[in-house]
């Protein structure tokens, strides 16, 4: 016959071992399948999220925009053309003035100088002036 002491000891053992949880030695197929399916679903969902994140992360890897790290100097064509126009005009005026200078030392006879027309084309260069003078 079981005495009171033995019953208390058995209850104490059961309580101590199970720590208040139901006895795990008992199998409940529905519960275990539920837990299994739940864990499976959690794994599938978290895996899908992880894979999706990875896919999004590397999907645009081939469309990365590169940087040359070299600055191409900007060519300001308008300013260049303006400068060229300015200096072409200046150069033309300079050549004209120097052309006049070359003419100055040559003293033509008065009657010869009178034949020079005011509408004569401007001499382009010093060489032209010298060449013209030599011919004359």
């Amino acid at each position: 016959m079981i005495d009171k002491k033995s019953i208390i000891k058995m209850a104490d053992d059961v309580f101590h071992r199970s720590q208040g949880y139901p006895d795990r030695r008992l199998v409940h197929p529905q519960r275990e399948w539920g837990i299994g399916l739940f864990v499976f679903a959690v794994l599938v969902i978290s895996g899908s999220i992880l894979v999706g994140t990875t896919f999004v992360q590397y999907r645009s890897a081939d469309s990365v925009k590169g940087s040359s790290e070299a600055s191409i100097p900007q060519y300001r064509e308008v300013i260049t053309q303006d400068a060229l126009e300015l200096y072409r005009a200046r150069s033309s005026e300079y050549r004209q003035l120097r052309g006049d200078i070359v003419v100055v030392p040559v003293e033509l006879p008065r009657d010869a100088s009178s034949t020079v027309s005011d509408n004569a084309p401007a001499l382009e260069s010093e060489e032209d002036v010298i060449g013209t003078l030599e011919i004359e």
Binding site: R24, R25, E69, I72, T80, S91, L97, P105
Partner: protein, 176 residues
């Protein structure tokens, strides 16, 4: 009841789960590492393409602007043609029939690509010729300007003769 067979199945299942978890983690790490390499290689390729494009654009710019740049360069004085420049000025003075002496010549350091060559001349000659010389100096086909002029009439000379100084500033390309 938990039988021995159930325990074995459970143990094998847990073991399989752990092994598959480890495999999964290592595969994810592998994918992460390869993904990092992919991104790095993609960046390098993109950088290379960008550099190549920049090079092509620059090359095209250099070719298409060569004539203009060459012409523009003729209007800028460089150190190696400074002597020729001075000789040209003296030549102009001789052509004009005036006396010209170079008083001073010095380079003022400037910030940027150009320094300034400051030349001071003494001139002596007929007024019209000196003024003509001044006009020529003002129209020199260089990036230059007359920064100072000082003339006095020579009372002793016959006719309108002036003497004075002309200071010319010319931009000098600094290769340094």
């Amino acid at each position: 009841m938990i039988t021995r067979k159930t325990k074995v199945y459970g143990f094998v299942s847990v073991l399989f789960f752990i092994v598959m978890g480890a495999v999964l983690v290592s595969m994810l790490q592998y994918i992460e590492a390869k993904g990092g390499e992919l991104v790095q290689h993609s960046k390098e390729i993109a950088d290379y393409k960008a550099r190549e494009q920049a090079y092509n654009e620059l090359e095209q710019l250099i070719v298409s602007t060569k004539d203009d740049r060459d012409e523009l360069a003729t209007y800028i004085l460089t150190e190696n043609v400074t002597i020729d420049f001075l000789a040209t000025i003296e030549e102009i003075a001789i052509e004009q029939g005036i006396e010209l002496t170079t008083n001073s010549l010095h380079v003022e350091e400037q910030e940027g690509l150009f320094d300034t060559l400051v030349i001071s001349f003494s001139v002596d000659g007929p007024q019209t010729r000196v003024y003509s010389m001044l006009q020529i100096l003002e129209t020199l086909p260089y990036h230059a300007f007359v920064s100072g002029v000082s003339f006095t009439n020579d009372q002793k000379a016959v006719g309108a003769v002036v003497e004075g100084t002309i200071e010319l500033n010319v931009s000098l390309l600094d290769y340094d």
